[in-house]
Symmetry: C2
DNA sequence: CGCTGGTTTCACAAACTTGTGAAGTTAAGG
DNA sequence: CCTTAACTTCACAAGTTTGTGAAACCAGCG
């Protein structure tokens, strides 16, 4: 843990966290560079870093930073900010925004539902296979609704425990 | 095998479903062969297929089948069954079992939680970064619990709408 | 206007992944 | 026990992904 004197961030400790959390994200399917960039932002005090800072901290080229943040911005996991009167960009992680992004695997689930619906249609609801697909579809529709409610409950829970961040 | 003229399975339609559902799974991060094998099982009437049937239907080698089912079995998405008095294996998808497997991204979430906990410890709960990590950790712990409850509700919902499959 | 710090795009080499044929292993059935 | 059907492992070729250096691009500032 860092001590008070000018709050020297323990570079070593931060790096250890970044790499280990990024590794988990990679395991869950995220690409390596976006995962590392995201972890770095998450563990920065201000919640923002510039391209240069990211490049230096992670030892990667400007090109890699550029690719990673483009991806993260598309997924709404980070926001881009231009600091006024400068050519520098800052990238920021909003906690709330990133939860939303996570649960917005919604797009993914919608894709599954579409494919399943077509399957049910073409195999017919009468066959055992058709019924299995219909049930699977029902499961995803159920989950969809429940996740939305769950996020509502989380916002309340969060408010109670953390105030608004 | 010849079709009884009552219920001819539309091979073309099944294949179309298999490929389109598998494509969705791939997009969500699953490997190609496991995704195709899984989709094929899901859309079979009996919910089971032998290695040979899988190989023929998907036009892939025995080696590919072997690799795919090993993966799926590890993830508890299919069960292996040996038909008694035969060298043939059958692979089966249990609907319930596969929902469980899906929500058992739990293993994944546990990994994230572990990494975050270490991060909170080493960065210290006092710093802004530490607090951000702590909140993120709290979110995952919250989700963990909620998902378990959601699955309970699903089982009831399912029972009502589908009887026990 | 053109210089300059900063970001993005592009082509490519290196690393990794994927699916295959073929050899190896296992066990049922003669 | 030996044969043989069925599954698994292995080494590799083909294909894909990844991150880089270098060039192109952009926008503030003098």
């Amino acid at each position: 843990m860092a001590e008070a004197n000018g709050a020297p961030r323990d570079v070593e400790a931060v790096s250890k966290f970044v790499e280990s959390f990024a590794a988990q994200l990679v395991e869950a399917g995220m690409q390596r560079m976006p995962a590392r960039v995201f972890a770095a932002l998450l563990s920065s005090d201000s919640g923002t870093l510039t391209s240069a800072e990211l490049g230096e901290q992670l030892r990667i080229s400007p090109a890699a930073v550029s690719g990673a943040v483009r991806y993260l911005a598309q997924q709404h996991m980070v926001a881009r900010e231009r600091e006024p009167g400068s050519r520098r960009e800052r990238y920021r992680v909003h906690s709330d925004q990133w939860y939303e992004a996570l649960t917005n695997r919604e797009a993914v689930i919608k894709g599954w539902e579409r494919a399943l619906r077509e399957g049910v249609d073409s195999l017919g609801g009468g066959s055992p296979a058709g019924r299995r697909l219909a049930e699977t579809l029902a499961f995803f529709e159920f989950v969809d609704g429940e996740v939305a409610l769950m996020m509502d409950r989380w916002r309340i829970h969060r408010e109670r425990h953390f105030g608004d961040g």
